[in-house]
């Protein structure tokens, strides 16, 4: 008997260690980024574009990358919304009577969700050549838009699945068309959930390098049109870290900190929104 008790104790200990290690790992990653990045973070970093000689350690900042990343992700969100909103509405309203088809679509979405972003990058690149556009903000928006689409649909589908059937059916019984049910009932009911899905996709879009590596190019200027090249924050981290000059490397750490803070703000917002959504419903 005693060995069973011992086994139980050992397993329990291992489990506690595992759970604790999750917290420790998160703190380890965050502190190393904060400790290394914070000393080099300055107002100049976030408010200026790279000046002449920036990549030799002279003055400037990464405003181009911050704004570029925001433009890119916002554009991608808008593009992706045109796909994902109708798709999730279709799955939960138009195709409600045909669960087999809906499950098949969910399966395809899961497959799309699993495809690595570098493959989307390669696909975006061939698409770009096929359409005859150069590396630009637009090409990046198209690539990232496709890449985050399954993430967005999954989030929206998840909340729309949980809208009570009775609500949908009573709207239909009052003579609403499918479109009216979709936009006046479904969307209105699930706005916080949709916002959460958008934010999650935004976080994925803003942090990904592999999908934009070949499609956005890189420039020191803030882009003023869709056809211009653009820098992005993760790429800025990646490029600056590859420099042999210590000052530039330090700025990579500061840029990494900026990116981390953006991601943390997004996750807090997601948490806040989903809490609000659930407290509304119960």
């Amino acid at each position: 008997m005693w060995w069973r008790k011992l086994e139980e104790k050992i397993i329990y200990l291992l489990m506690v260690i595992s759970v604790a290690s999750l917290v420790i790992l998160l703190l380890a990653v965050l502190t190393s980024i904060f400790v290394k990045g914070a000393p080099y973070l300055s107002w100049e970093m976030v408010s200026q574009t790279p000046k002449g000689g920036y990549y030799f350690g002279r003055e400037g900042g990464v405003l181009n990358a911050i704004v570029g990343s925001l433009y890119l992700s916002l554009g991608a969100i808008l593009l992706s919304l045109a796909f994902s909103l109708p798709l999730s509405l279709a799955m939960n309203i138009h195709l409600r009577a045909r669960p087999k088809i809906v499950n098949r679509i969910r399966f395809v979405l899961d497959i799309l969700w699993g495809i690595p972003s570098i493959v989307y990058g390669a696909f975006g690149f061939t698409l770009m050549i096929y359409l005859g556009i150069k590396a630009s903000l637009l090409a990046g928006i198209i690539t990232v838009g496709i890449f985050i689409m399954p993430i967005m649909v999954r989030g929206m589908d998840e909340v729309m699945k949980n809208v009570p059937v009775s609500l949908i059916e009573s709207a239909f019984s009052l003579g609403s068309t499918r479109m009216e049910v979709a936009f006046k009932v479904m969307v209105r009911q699930t706005i916080p959930g949709i916002a959460t899905a958008i934010l999650l996709a935004f976080g994925r879009g803003i942090g990904d390098v592999a999908s934009v590596l070949f499609t956005t190019g890189y420039t020191d200027n803030v882009p003023t049109s869709l056809t211009q090249q653009t820098a992005t924050l993760p790429l800025a981290v990646f490029f600056q870290l590859g420099s042999p000059i210590p000052e530039v490397q330090n700025r990579a750490y500061a840029s990494a900190l900026i990116l981390t803070v953006i991601i943390l703000v997004i996750s807090i917002a997601v948490r806040f929104l989903s809490n609000k959504y659930y407290s509304n419903r119960h």
């Binding site: 086994e7 139980e8 397993i11 489990m15 506690v16 595992s18 759970v19 290690s21 999750l22 917290v23 998160l26 990653v29 190393s32 980024i33 290394k36 045109a82 796909f83 109708p86 798709l87 279709a90 138009h94 195709l95 499950n103 098949r104 679509i105 399966f107 395809v108 497959i111 799309l112 699993g114 495809i115 690595p116 972003s117 570098i118 493959v119 390669a122 696909f123 061939t126 689409m149 068309t177 499918r178 479109m179 009216e180 979709a182 976080g203 803003i206 990904d208 390098v209 592999a210 590596l213 993760p234 990646f238 870290l241 990579a252 990116l259 981390t260 991601i263 943390l264 996750s267 948490r271």
Partner: protein, 297 residues
């Protein structure tokens, strides 16, 4: 609004929706075919077995053997999975069966943030912490000399990135095991751990394997974080403390230069296709298993 305009609007929107559904369902095929189309050139140039099993990589001389890259990818993925397995399994069991609701409420954001951190940040962390740790301590401990930029570093960074991904699926899978089964086992006098070991783990074994299958396909395609710490030296690595060069890193590193050489371009597209095929196959098998299990319960 009169009936006719409402009807018309509904039909227009339905058309839009139908088009989007078709487009999305066709998207994996569109991606696969466009990559296949681009890799046609290299497939006509060398045989498939030559591409997959030759270790001669001389793009300028027209020799493309992907073997070193495939081996590196497999090693990095394997190390990542091995390291992440105990943490994921133990945490998932604890959070599902032992932890209080408060603990779960506290841990969920931790897991979410771990999942949300971009891979470039994990890469920076790897360079700051893991690479020097391997170069200074871990490699000498095993009697190797290493700069730290190695297969091992890639595997360790990858294992951390895989945790939230696999953990979430595992928790989901453990929840599909019926409470009745659990209670029945407890009422027969089994302890909690015995029940988990003999009932839960056995019952959800296929699901657990699928969760790691999904993790595997995730790991196989991870690009930037691994690229930053793995060293990127072409060659079949002899031990884990040597640098490697996984497939995604190959694609990412060579994109700028390859356009001038059509065969090189085609070779990289072939690499992307290969990556996609491996990932999609593992995904389909794992998803199917999970769906089958859920339908059974």
């Amino acid at each position: 609004m009169n009936y006719k305009t409402r009807k018309l609007k509904d039909q227009l929107v339905s058309l839009w929706i139908r088009f989007m559904v078709l487009l999305v369902v066709a998207l994996p095929l569109i991606i696969a075919f466009s990559l296949l189309y681009k890799s046609w050139l290299i497939l006509g140039h060398s045989s498939l077995s030559e591409l997959l099993f030759s270790s001669v990589w001389r793009p300028l001389a027209g020799e493309f053997g992907f073997f070193p890259f495939i081996v590196s990818s497999v090693w990095v993925t394997f190390i990542g999975l091995i390291l992440t397995t105990p943490i994921c399994l133990f945490s998932a069991i604890f959070l599902t069966y032992y932890g209080s609701r408060h603990l779960l409420r506290f841990m969920q954001p931790v897991i979410d943030i771990l999942a949300g951190i971009p891979s470039v940040i994990y890469g920076v962390w790897g360079i700051l912490v893991i690479v020097p740790a391997i170069g200074k301590y871990l490699a000498p401990m095993f009697g190797y000399e290493s700069s730290g930029f190695s297969i091992m570093a890639g595997g360790i960074v990858l294992s951390v990135m895989l945790i939230p991904f696999i953990l979430n699926i595992l928790i989901e899978i453990f929840r599909t095991v019926h409470q009745d089964l659990f209670d029945a086992s407890l009422s027969l006098g089994a302890s909690k751990w015995q029940t988990i070991k003999h009932v839960v783990l056995r019952k959800s074994f296929a699901g657990i394997v699928s969760a790691f299958g999904l993790g595997l396909s995730r790991a196989f395609g991870e690009t930037i974080a691994v690229l930053m710490v793995v060293g990127n030296v072409v060659g079949v690595p002899e031990n884990l403390f040597q640098p490697g060069y996984p497939l995604p890193a190959l694609i990412a590193n060579n994109y700028g230069e390859m356009l001038s050489i059509p065969m090189f371009d085609s070779a990289l597209m072939f690499a992307a296709l290969l990556l996609m095929v491996v990932v999609v196959v593992f995904n389909i098998i794992s998803r199917r298993t999970i769906i089958y299990l859920e339908s059974k319960h």
